[in-house]
């Protein structure tokens, strides 16, 4: 079947109205925090005041006597459930057991009739601690004789679709990943030029405006949880483990989610909320504040020692890196972050000799986990900084240097993984053109272009059901979570395109693990590619059934029928799908089911599902007096195969780039000793309206080269990854100052400029 091209689609490839638009502009959109169940009680958490301490005793008797208090949970009264969870490493107790591992770790939960009673009773919970020496940074954690964050080893979690974390030995090393091909030592020995440096990627907070919230109802028929989770099926898996329930007894429902950006992936407060309900025998709501959310998950901050070599012709010959990730107190998704950081440090380049050692390291800090683009963000900054550093050594334009080394479509950048499925040379040419790099720069201005390639899509296990009704309407049952990225709109478009119905006739339902078929997760930019393809295939499967029914009605063979946009034709007769269903069943309100599932076979056998491309350009202005960097111009490329919804791809790209801007210029969680200094929105600076660049170009590339519907592939993370490197490289171009530590705060820039001036003065005299 020939594939439709842009311009030939009815619904897809158009920026249609958002499916959730009316609900969201009228205030009718329901988020988990809006849900209230009959008889619902409220939980509040007592948090550890120490980064590392033994819990000597917990006395909840006085708290239990407080007005309105129903139950108090703590590490000593969780008998009857398995209190540990974790999809990669089962190391995370739902409340601290025996000891606390970071300042802010939940130690006790008070369940009461209302939030205030729960909150007020917290101070009546008596906890005796014996403070222990802690490890707050990776060097301290790796030192000989360092205190151990975890004294015991743990079983691996289900770790879906990736390497087994291996046997966990008692050390502060949570996960090691090693990657090697070619002969790195020989390549460096023969190299024409080498650059080497240590780069720091900051500890950052994703700041979903809606903080974590979940509501649990544990009763005789099982467990129902409403949550702000990105991955309801993985939450279900972990809950089933904690309570020893069959999967079909655990129902996880995710209504609208107020931002995720990876921070709501995997399991967070759901096991604790469910335990509160189990103990209190009531539905229980646990709503965290933003300040508490900042004590729940962050990204892995990284120190990357990296060197890169080129030959005389300016071809990359080797890259060697040691990556230390500060994983915090629990593994969460950091083992996978480590794997991805190692994979993604190669970038979209042909490098014949590579050696990477990546280590995720436990410390007594807030647990680190997924954050939009994870792995790629941490390593694209050093990787792409070094591309500019090498270009300068070679007296080559940084763009030319990249062009020379970019892998072409179909070329392998990583042995064992899928060859590159994008045209990066084309992408970079578009950025260069939009950025007008040929025009002279004003004083104090700098421009840069950078790119990245991420092995994206995660484990391709996805399924869906499409109901086709006799009145011409269609429902898509999806386990994908609507985080604002527009998944429900895109899936609706695909179903409308395939079934030949108006957009308004398609309803998207889910996720609800009791109703919607299995989907591994909503992350790694997978939804359009995988769930979108599953929806397309489910529609096609329904159409085959409808065609067979039509053949029976028309008393002919199915292959004699001509498929039309929303029905079949045979000789002079035409039957719409509506006609087919009504005639076949003799009822006007019946329906059939089309279904599809994807797994790691066929064209999805080789990972990644697709390479997610980042290709961005910036122009900045640097104020030499204050050190402040202003973004003057931003160019992004959404290399998405086919933009099912062009405006939403642009929205993802600008949103991602803006997060890159935040991390590049402002955002950093700071510790002083064991205390998180800026764990609130007042002190943690996220991009505001005034940070918007005056000129923005959001470009789309539609080469239909993905494995998703109509050749689509994912986006949404790519435009974040190269932005910090773009900023650092543009700063260098503007001022000659090379900074290897993010964020590029005014103070850092100002100090570097002053140092440069002082050096210059010394040379001058």
């Amino acid at each position: 079947m020939s594939r439709k091209k842009p311009g030939e689609f009815q619904v897809v490839n158009h920026s249609v109205a958002r499916e959730d638009g009316v609900a969201k502009v009228t205030g009718r959109a329901v988020y988990a925090s809006d849900i209230r169940l009959e008889g619902m009680a409220y939980a509040k958490l007592l948090r550890s005041p120490f980064a590392h301490a033994r819990i000597l005793s917990i006395d909840a008797s006085e708290a239990l006597r407080q007005p309105g208090v129903i139950a108090v949970l703590h590490g000593n009264n969780l008998q009857g459930i398995d209190p540990y969870y974790g999809h990669a490493v089962k190391d995370h107790p739902l409340l601290a057991i025996g000891k606390v591992r970071f300042l802010g770790e939940p130690v006790a939960a008070v369940v009461a009739e209302d939030e205030r009673s729960a909150y007020e009773a917290l101070e009546s919970v008596r906890v005796e601690y014996e403070e222990l020496p802690g490890v707050l940074e990776v060097d301290a954690a790796l030192a000989d004789g360092a205190p151990l964050v975890h004294e015991t080893s743990y079983a691996g979690g289900s770790f879906r679709g990736f390497d087994d974390p291996g046997s966990m030995k008692a050390s502060n090393i949570c996960q090691e990943v090693h990657l090697e091909w070619g002969d790195v030592a020989a390549a460096f020995a023969q190299a024409a030029q080498v650059v080497e440096g240590v780069y720091y990627f900051p500890m950052a907070y994703a700041y979903a405006m809606e903080a974590y919230v979940s509501i649990a109802d544990y009763n005789d028929s099982g467990l129902t949880v409403y949550s702000s989770a990105q991955h309801p099926f993985i939450v279900r898996h972990d809950l089933a483990g904690v309570f020893g329930l069959f999967l079909n007894r655990v129902r996880v429902v995710v209504p609208f989610v107020g931002g995720g950006y990876g921070s709501k992936s995997y399991t967070k407060i759901e096991p604790l909320t469910a335990a509160c309900s189990w103990k209190a025998k009531r539905p229980v709501k646990l709503q965290l504040s933003v300040a508490e959310a900042m004590l729940t998950t962050r990204n892995d901050d990284a120190r990357v020692r990296i060197r890169t070599a080129v030959d005389r012709e300016g071809r990359l010959v080797a890259r060697e890196a040691t990556i230390h990730l500060n994983t915090g107190a629990y593994a969460e998704n950091s083992p996978l972050v480590a794997r991805k950081a190692a994979n993604r440090i190669v970038g979209p380049y042909r490098i014949p000799n590579v050696k990477v050692d990546c280590c995720a390291i436990y410390t007594n800090t807030v647990p680190a986990s997924s954050f939009r683009g994870f792995g790629a963000t941490q390593v694209t900054f050093p990787g792409e900084s070094q591309m500019d550093e090498l270009a300068e050594k070679l007296s080559c334009h940084p763009v030319e240097f990249r062009r020379k080394n970019l892998a072409a479509r179909g070329e392998s950048i990583h042995p064992g993984l899928r060859p590159l499925d994008a045209d990066l040379a084309g992408d970079i040419a578009m950025v260069v053109q939009a950025l007008e790099t040929d025009k002279p720069l004003s004083k104090g201005h700098g421009r840069a272009v950078a790119c990245s390639a991420s092995d994206a899509g995660s484990d391709p296990v996805t399924s869906t059901i499409v109901h086709v009704y006799a009145d011409g309407s269609v429902s898509v049952m999806t386990g994908s979570t609507e985080l604002g990225q527009g998944s429900h709109t895109v899936l609706r478009q695909i179903a409308a395109e395939e079934m030949g119905v108006e957009l308004q006739k398609v309803r998207v339902i889910g996720p609800d693990t009791a109703v919607t078929p299995f989907e591994r997760s909503t992350g790694a930019s997978r939804t359009t590619t995988l769930m979108g393809r599953a929806v397309l295939e489910a529609c096609q499967e329904a159409i085959v059934q409808l065609r067979d029914m039509a053949a029976e009605i028309l008393k002919t063979a199915p292959e004699n029928l001509i498929l039309e946009r929303s029905g079949v034709a045979f000789q002079d007769r035409r039957l719409s799908w509506q006609d087919v269903l009504r005639t076949f069943f003799g009822l006007s309100d019946c329906s059939i089911i089309g279904r599809a599932y994807l797994r790691k076979v066929g064209d999805l056998a080789l990972l990644p599902v697709f390479w997610e491309i980042g290709c961005t350009g910036v122009e900045i202005a640097v104020d030499a007096e204050t050190g402040r960097i202003c973004l003057e111009r931003l160019v992004t490329v959404g290399d998405v195969g086919l933009a099912i919804h062009p405006a939403m791809v642009e929205g993802q790209d600008l949103g991602a780039a803006t997060m890159g801007l935040g991390i590049g210029l402002y955002e950093e969680l700071l510790y002083e000793g064991q205390q998180l200094l800026n764990g609130n929105l007042l002190d943690y600076r996220v991009p505001r309206f005034s940070d918007l660049a005056p000129k923005i170009d959001l470009l789309l590339v539609q080469n239909q080269d993905g494995r998703g519907p109509y050749g689509a592939k994912g986006g949404g993370e790519g435009s974040l990854n190269p932005i910090p490197a773009c900023l650092a490289n543009a700063l260098y171009q503007a001022t000659g100052v090379r900074l290897r530590r993010l964020p590029l705060t005014p103070e850092r820039v100002w100090r570097a400029l002053r140092e440069q001036r002082n050096k210059g003065d010394n040379v001058g005299h």
């Binding site: 158009h14 109205a17 502009v25 009228t26 700041y207 604002g484 527009g486 405006a647």
Partner: protein, 172 residues
């Protein structure tokens, strides 16, 4: 101890007995069940809880319910009239000025406050006016366009009742 308050919300007068410490945002959400106004940072920074108080944008997490006594509050639920979206709502929908939607109610009311004062705001004015509202999804550009679009609609008169959904935009 509870105190009586009389607060007009979206044109309807409500009499309630509330604790003096009750925040206005919790009054709206928990007492009146108007959950369109969102609780974000609870420190007055994010703007997700923005409402109109006597026509002016305020952050309802920074006020007590008793401070709104005998005053008029407008929330996102009061914007559409007889099921028809108003110009600002339509602007945000048409220009994709939202993604996750959590900031949207506050943005809509801040936009109303601005457009009342300045019907044809420049981009700079919009930036200044909405500086107290954060959005982590969009990167703000579409929100600027949404507010300009809404201003155009308001100046053109009543929003067209012809269609209840934005037109399909062609491929660009």
């Amino acid at each position: 101890m509870k105190v009586p308050v009389e607060i007009t919300v979206n044109g309807t007068r409500h009499r309630s007995e509330v604790e003096p410490r009750l925040l206005l945002v919790h009054y709206l959400r928990d007492v009146l069940d108007l959950t369109g106004t969102h609780v974000g940072c609870e420190t007055g920074l994010c703007g997700a809880c923005t409402i109109l108080l006597d026509g002016e944008a305020v952050k309802s997490c920074m006020m007590l319910a008793v401070q709104a006594n005998v005053r008029a509050v407008e929330t996102v639920e009061g914007l559409s009239v007889e099921g028809e979206l108003d110009a600002v709502q339509r602007g945000f929908w048409e220009e994709h000025g939202l993604q996750c939607g959590f900031c949207t109610p506050g943005m809509l009311l801040s936009a109303h406050d601005l457009l009342r004062r300045s019907p044809q705001p420049t981009e700079e004015e919009i930036q200044r006016a909405i500086h107290g509202n954060l959005c982590r999804c969009t990167g703000y550009q579409t929100i600027v366009k949404a507010i300009q679009n809404a201003g155009d609609k308001m100046r053109a008169g009543k929003p067209s009742a012809a269609s209840s959904s934005p037109s399909t935009r062609g491929r660009r």
